[in-house]
Homo-oligomer: 345 residues x 2
């Protein structure tokens, strides 16, 4: 199974990027510092857009950079790109071939912005159009559902953040990420067993907040692409304003709730879902209080700093989506209706 | 029924804001022009966040302003607000009382930014914290589900856009919006009849693109708040990269597809959904080709310029959500689990 193999390759891919890409990341950070952009304008689609959500929180919290997620249709349909003066324009795409993402980078160059691409294809049109390129070095991704290119995109974003801060502690934490991912991969059999329980689930919501808002979106996307269930991602804050009304007894809620600054808010939501709404909870966490609320707890290794939990937690979500796909009798290698390269215009 | 009454009040509310708020909008535009912000940093929650999505496209396409949607948890949990130099900081909130939205405006002031609030409560903490206020003048909104404050927030955003452009044609178009909304309200009985068909629907997706990406989110939110169904909003571009795999025969897809620059792309998607996936389509449009693909067509008045279609199309979505709530036997006035004021911290 190519998908499973690629999920298992992730510690190696992350270690390789960290080792071989650090000089590039430092050079990119130096170029960014020298231009002192007022904000980041980031274009991506699908899985890479979820990596962009991580950048939105991480570069905001750790580097003080406000981030606007580009709306590519402004460029391709409305032909009205915004004024990008003093922006750092970033494209994230594993293939580097999405025409709409390339067009955002090209417009950035036309307006004289510093441009950066994060891609698995350093010879792609996207990379060629950019001033700066961080090659995520994930090796060819054959499975249609992206896994190792997602976690290496997150690593690339985290490396640029660490390089911008020039903080050795951050680099030391990054160096431990491959081993945390390895620890999650050891849960493969256990996650395979607990996925059985969801054989007949046809819809769910996926909750995350802060840095793990991205994880909720990416976990939901894997579930949608592979298992064809309706999986709707939410920040726990938005969820409690209205959508929580949907939750009745037995309603399945997936949650990403590692320890950190938003943990208490997530824990309160999980308690309410379990005790007041009688929801069914699948919880990825390193905190016993959160895990004990879940019918299906998935325990993360202890000690991951909050900013790096998205790189580790999503791996549990990938394994869950993979095993649920098999439990439902679907093909993990040939999901319906999607191709590998996003060709949106 | 307060909700129904407030839906019906919208032409009057829009006309009042247009008449009484124009001077304020012009003054706000003058202040913005004089500061020449590099980008907009906008904070909102729930329905107002959907109004922010409209601003994202409209101010981008019509005014060249890149827009970053704030992630309030960066302010309230991570205590790491980004550097907002040269930003226009905007808060949108009907009550003006959401502490996390107020905190974004306060941070903007602390950093010396120009700040603007769009609110139904000009004496609220949000308004008091802002340099500039556009009062949406919708009158007290008693129903828990927001309707007239949404369309007046869109109108406020559109008026600021027109004022920034200083273009009489845009103001003339705005003046026609109340009558277009009136025309949609005449479909009340017809929408009530077609909603019956969805009495047992428990999930659906809602598609929109470009300016109407916001409409898809807001229609989905009304369905979730009032009818407790799972209603997932998508841009048609994101939908075709993966999630379309969920669609099997009879799967209900709501679509907002008025004529304009993204229409061909929406029409292609609707044709594929009907012909290849055998989907069930509820389509809000002014285009016969799109309406004829739908089992449940909802016809918009002809001649609405694309940028104003969100103000008109959502009214059909509100009526649909209202009537479906009644068809399902739920209380339109007391939805479960939500209160009127968003008190997220």
């Amino acid at each position: 199974m190519t998908l499973h193999t690629e999920i298992l390759e992730q510690p190696e891919c992350l270690a390789r990027l960290l080792e071989d890409g650090r000089v590039e990341a430092e050079r990119i950070a130096a170029a960014i510092r020298s231009r002192a952009p007022r904000f980041v304008f980031l274009a991506a689609r699908g899985t890479s857009d979820n990596a962009g959500r991580y950048a939105n929180y991480l570069w905001g919290a750790q580097n003080g950079l406000p981030l606007a997620l580009a709306t590519p249709s402004l460029f391709t349909y409305y032909c009205q790109p915004p004024q990008l003066k003093d922006a750092l324009v970033v494209g994230v795409s594993q293939s580097g071939k999405s025409p709409d993402i390339v067009s955002v980078i090209e417009e950035g160059r036309r307006q004289g912005c510093l441009t950066l691409s994060i891609t698995n294809a350093p010879a792609s049109p996207l990379a060629q159009a950019s001033d700066l390129v961080l090659d995520i070095r994930a090796g060819e991704e054959k499975a249609v559902a992206a896994t190792k290119t997602y976690t290496t995109e997150l690593m690339a974003i985290a490396m640029i953040s660490a390089a911008l801060r020039g903080d050795k502690t951050l680099w030391r934490d990054l160096g431990r990420a491959p081993r945390w991912v390895e620890a999650v991969l050891k849960l493969d059999g256990q996650i395979g067993q607990l996925a059985e329980r969801y054989r007949y689930m046809n819809l769910c919501v996926v909750l995350g907040r802060g840095f793990n808002y991205a994880t909720a979106f990416e976990w939901a996307l894997k579930l949608k692409e592979l298992t064809y269930i309706i999986a709707e991602p939410y920040s726990s804050a938005d969820f409690q304003h209205g959508p929580i009304a949907m939750v009745e007894g037995g309603f399945p809620v997936m949650a990403v709730a590692p320890q950190g600054k938003v943990f208490d808010s997530m824990l309160g939501m999980l308690g309410r879902l379990r005790k007041e709404h009688n929801a069914e909870l699948v919880v990825i966490s390193d905190a016993p209080e959160a895990l004990s609320l879940a019918q299906s707890p998935i325990r993360l290794p202890a000690g991951i700093p909050e900013w790096l939990t998205p790189l580790v937690a999503i791996v549990a979500g990938q394994l869950f989506a993979y095993h649920l796909t098999r439990a439902k009798g679907y093909d993990t290698e040939k999901p319906r209706s999607i191709g590998k390269i996003t060709e949106t215009h």
